[in-house]
């Protein structure tokens, strides 16, 4: 990763334009052509420096549901339960955390009602209680990371 990659990451965490040739439209201040910018973004993605590039969709604003859930998974069953939880396409993120509640995952659904089904199924199939912690209020979302 060089200074140009860092500049791409720092300047492009939002505001990517909606126009005919958006890469070309923003490449010049980075000292690149549109084609070079596309190649850089492709490489950053391949190298795992960025996890995605594109629009970030907001499930709840589409009429769906979003929640954070936590489980207390016995250590010897951790990988098996993680595999089962991750197999649901509605599970958008899943993190192992250092606490008795050691598995924390985000469920995003397109249709209302599906969240409860997914959580109930996970609970039934694993025999582990699922704690549902949907947000009641959002105070802030949106830090940008400095590369």
């Amino acid at each position: 990763m060089d200074d140009i990659d860092r500049a791409i990451i720092n300047s492009l965490q939002g505001g990517f334009p909606i126009c005919d040739q958006p890469f070309g439209a923003i490449a010049e201040p980075l000292g690149l052509t549109g084609t070079q910018l596309m190649a850089r973004i492709r490489k950053l993605k391949e190298d795992g420096i960025i996890s995605r590039f594109g629009p970030m969709w907001h499930a709840e604003r589409m009429g769906g549901e979003l929640t954070l859930s936590a489980m207390k998974v016995p250590a010897e069953r951790f990988d098996e339960v993680a595999e089962l939880v991750n197999s649901y396409p509605e599970v958008a993120h899943n993190y192992a955390r250092e606490h008795a509640l050691n598995m924390w995952f985000v469920v995003a659904t397109e249709k209302p009602g599906r969240k409860a089904e997914v959580l109930a199924e996970i609970e039934a199939r694993t025999g582990v209680e699922v704690h549902d912690m949907p947000k009641i209020q959002e105070f802030y979302v949106g830090l940008r990371f400095e590369a």
Partner: protein, 159 residues
């Protein structure tokens, strides 16, 4: 606030949930996949961005790859009547990436205010947690920091 998607909006979500195509005219490529005009795709995406259905368009850094190894979910036991003030104070801290009020699960889980912090070194993470504690003062009746030890999945929304 919710905005039901019509079939073309939904097709745009499906076409872009793995990301925007890395081609010279990405919205034209999305339009081809969706079966509409590029102008229609761009108008709809502008509208969805304006409505907040799209939070933003750009790169999502993998913060681990950038060296942010200490990603702490800080959780705070705040009395219900203090939550709005507590959320306002924590939401203002520039290093907090997300801040939410969530339900407690008594007796095991008394924590109701969640704030994510990120640091490259453990000592820096500890200092950030302390700054949250200082901002809350007596509004916090107890807290924990849960560091993530592993990302098990990170795909974002899938329809």
């Amino acid at each position: 606030m919710t905005t039901p998607l019509d079939p073309i909006d939904r097709a745009i979500v499906v076409a872009t949930q793995d990301g925007l195509p890395l081609v010279d005219k990405p919205y034209h490529e999305v339009a081809r996949q969706v079966g509409t005009s590029a102008e229609d795709v761009m108008n709809r995406m502008e509208r969805m961005l304006h409505e907040g259905v799209i939070r933003r368009i750009g790169v999502v850094p993998n913060h681990y790859a950038l060296g942010y190894k200490f990603n702490g979910m800080t959780v705070w036991d705040v009395a219900d009547q203090d939550i709005a003030e507590a959320g306002r104070r924590v939401g203002e801290l520039e290093f907090v990436s997300h801040c939410y009020h969530r339900p407690r699960h008594l007796p095991d889980w008394p924590y109701s205010l969640f704030a994510m912090i990120h640091a490259k070194e453990k000592a820096d993470a500890d200092a950030l947690v302390q700054r949250v504690a200082d901002a809350l003062g007596p509004l916090s009746r107890g807290h924990l920091v849960l560091f993530s030890s592993r990302i098990l999945k990170k795909t974002g929304l899938r329809l």
